[in-house]
């Protein structure tokens, strides 16, 4: 089973994020593989271990994206493709999907696994758009995956009405929820082996894309600015004897916040 996993190198959102003049301050930031993409890598590796084949990880991004790709290779992916082109930066989901579609089409594949959303954008558009561009069936928000035969996946997704079961014929695209699995850590041997695995670096022109189609120029959704979140008014915190604290707060909820009114 040949699997393509698009991974994004993102600012670690656990850090203190600051906004300066409408932009995200980049100094002092560190970058990681977007968490849900790690679940996508893990799912791909498990399928490969079961059915054989190759896992190709792909990232569109500046130089630092190669670190994320090396990490994925160290986890066990076989090949990496790095689309490193300044004209691809500031793409929207549609733009990234267009680039990823071209990369996927370079070779035969059975399955694409994306994250449910990237941790920096939280948009969740790239996977679904990519599936449509390639004419693939798709299942979003996958929390469980079984595959007895390589042509079909039996999936549970977290859907509208609870956990829904879906049977998916390959080739197809799925988007991973973090409950899908526990991503493995790279072993020392894996890290050594990763150094010898192929990592292709491509420009947009190598994919037959013009700089106007993607990046900031081709973006269908354009960011005007970032703002700090609206601060909630400072709340009240009560400490002391558990019973006193509880009765006090319940009284305030009733008489000040009027939640029973």
């Amino acid at each position: 089973m040949n699997i393509v996993v698009p991974i994004k190198s993102v600012i670690d959102v656990e850090l203190n994020i600051r906004v300066q003049e409408g932009k995200i301050a980049k100094d002092g930031m560190s970058y990681i593989i977007s968490k849900w993409d790690e679940n996508a890598i893990e799912a791909a590796l498990q399928l490969k271990e079961k059915h054989g084949g190759e896992v190709t990880v792909v990232s569109v991004g500046p130089d630092r994206a190669s670190e994320s790709l090396r990490k994925a290779l160290a986890m066990g992916a076989d090949k990496a493709v790095h689309v490193n082109d300044p004209a691809a930066e500031d793409s929207d989901s549609f733009g990234f999907a267009k680039i990823l579609a071209k990369v996927a089409q370079r070779g035969p594949f059975d399955l694409i696994i994306t994250g449910k959303q990237a941790q920096d954008t939280d948009m969740g558009g790239t996977g679904p758009i990519l599936a449509e561009l390639l004419g693939l069936p798709q299942v979003y928000n996958v929390i469980k995956l079984e595959s007895d035969e390589p042509s079909t996946l039996k999936l549970n997704r977290l859907g509208h009405q609870g956990q829904e079961m879906v049977e998916l014929k390959l080739p197809a695209l799925i988007a991973a929820n973090d409950s899908l699995n526990e991503p493995r850590l790279a072993s020392l041997r894996g890290i050594m082996a990763a150094k010898k695995k192929p990592l292709d670096v491509l420009k947009l022109a190598d994919l037959g894309l013009s700089p106007d189609e993607v990046g900031a120029k081709g973006a269908r959704v354009r960011t005007l600015e970032f703002q700090p979140p609206k601060r909630r008014a400072a709340g009240k915190k009560f400490e002391g004897d558990a019973e006193e604290v509880t009765r006090k707060v319940m009284d305030l909820l009733a008489n000040e916040a009027k939640i029973f009114a």
């Binding site: 600012i11 959102v13 929207d92 989901s93 549609f94 999907a97 941790q119 954008t121 939280d122 948009m123 969740g124 558009g125 996977g127 679904p128 758009i129 449509e132 069936p137 798709q138 299942v139 979003y140 928000n141 977290l158 859907g159 009405q161 609870g162 956990q163 829904e164 079961m165 879906v166 049977e167 998916l168 014929k169 988007a175 973090d178 409950s179 973006a219 269908r220 959704v221 354009r222 960011t223 005007l224 600015e225 703002q227 979140p229 609206k230 909630r232 709340g235 009240k236 915190k237 009560f238 400490e239 002391g240 558990a242 604290v245 509880t246 319940m250 009284d251 909820l253 916040a257 029973f260």
Partner: protein
């Protein structure tokens, strides 16, 4: 001329409140609006949608549409959008809005924005505000493409002022084409029919790992009942198997914005906060005074939940009398 197509969000065969929020917004802004409703047995909602402002109601009602699948749902919306001449398609944020929005962006050759909490509209010039980076920033975006604007709005972004039904102008859609390659086989565990829906509840009580186990969950459940609240959970609780997936609040679960959110034994990790910090009033019980949940709580109780919760239940009963 701008024209909005509101995609009705249904549970079972009933339209949910977030749809009325969208219709209230377009009605108050005086925007020309149609609606589309998809599912099994959903035709009955047409008059409600009309009463709330949909000039034409497009209906795809078929046994094959009982469960969401991207392909047929997208096909029905594309059909309705084309017939109505929509320039914008509005969805309610739910588990499947991202899949649907992305698919629509390609099929309608437009652009998609998810998780919108504020909309500034001047005809089809749209500025949308949405949280990003686990709600650590707000992103203001606009559409830089002439195609249809596909906008998924979070519940609670607009207030609903429901209006009585009136006779609808209904257009029945041809049964949309599904995709045989992705077959929905049914539910693993249906949500308890008696349970309140997290997306619609005025009050939510959520439990975290602090409840220690299933007995702790059962200790808190009566509090939710007494308050008439939906019952949610952190991921730690869901992953431990103490509560079903459908109860998970947060970035990978449900994003909620009730009037009142009560967090019991939840630490307040950013992924949890990303799912509930839009709530109007937040109450937290945690024995650790430094727990991050207190940074968003309007009323924080530093207390052992095993002592606090029984007293809370007792107090609610008193005040409800």
């Amino acid at each position: 001329m701008s024209k909005i197509l509101v995609v009705a969000d249904t549970k079972g065969s009933d339209v949910r409140k977030p749809t009325l929020e969208l219709l209230t917004k377009t009605r108050k802004a005086g925007l020309s609006t149609d609606a589309v409703v998809i599912g099994q047995g959903v035709q009955k909602n047409a008059d409600l949608l009309a009463g709330n402002g949909a000039a034409t109601v497009y209906v795809a009602d078929d046994a094959g549409l009982a469960q969401f699948a991207t392909a047929p749902y997208a096909a029905a919306i594309v059909d309705a959008a084309k017939q109505s001449g929509a320039t914008q398609v509005w969805l309610s944020v739910g588990e499947m809005s991202k899949a649907l929005g992305g698919a629509l962006a390609v099929r309608l050759d437009g652009a998609f924005v998810s998780d919108v909490v504020e909309l500034e509209l001047k005809g089809d010039e749209v500025i949308a505000t949405r949280p990003a980076m686990a709600t650590k920033v707000l992103q203001r975006v606009t559409f830089a493409h002439p195609g249809i604007r596909i906008i998924a709005v979070r519940s609670g972004a607009f207030d609903a002022e429901p209006q009585p039904p009136k006779t609808a102008k209904v257009v029945a859609l041809a049964t949309p084409k599904g995709d045989e390659r992705a077959k929905v086989k049914g539910l693993v565990a249906a949500q308890d029919a008696g349970e309140l829906d997290l997306g619609e509840a005025r009050i939510i009580v959520s439990v975290g790992r602090g409840v220690k186990g299933p007995e702790g969950v059962e200790l808190v459940r009566p509090l939710a009942k007494a308050l008439g609240a939906a019952f949610g959970a952190s991921r730690a609780v869901v992953d431990s198997g103490w509560m079903p997936y459908s109860a998970q609040v947060g970035q990978t679960g449900r994003v909620v914005a009730p009037d009142i959110y009560v967090a019991i034994g939840v630490s307040g990790a950013i992924q949890h906060l990303a799912g509930m910090s839009g709530s109007k009033l937040i109450v937290a019980v945690n024995k650790d005074a430094d727990a991050p949940i207190f940074s968003v709580a309007d009323y924080g109780m530093v207390a052992d939940l095993f002592k606090a919760v029984p007293i809370m239940i007792e107090e609610v009963a008193k005040h409800k009398q």
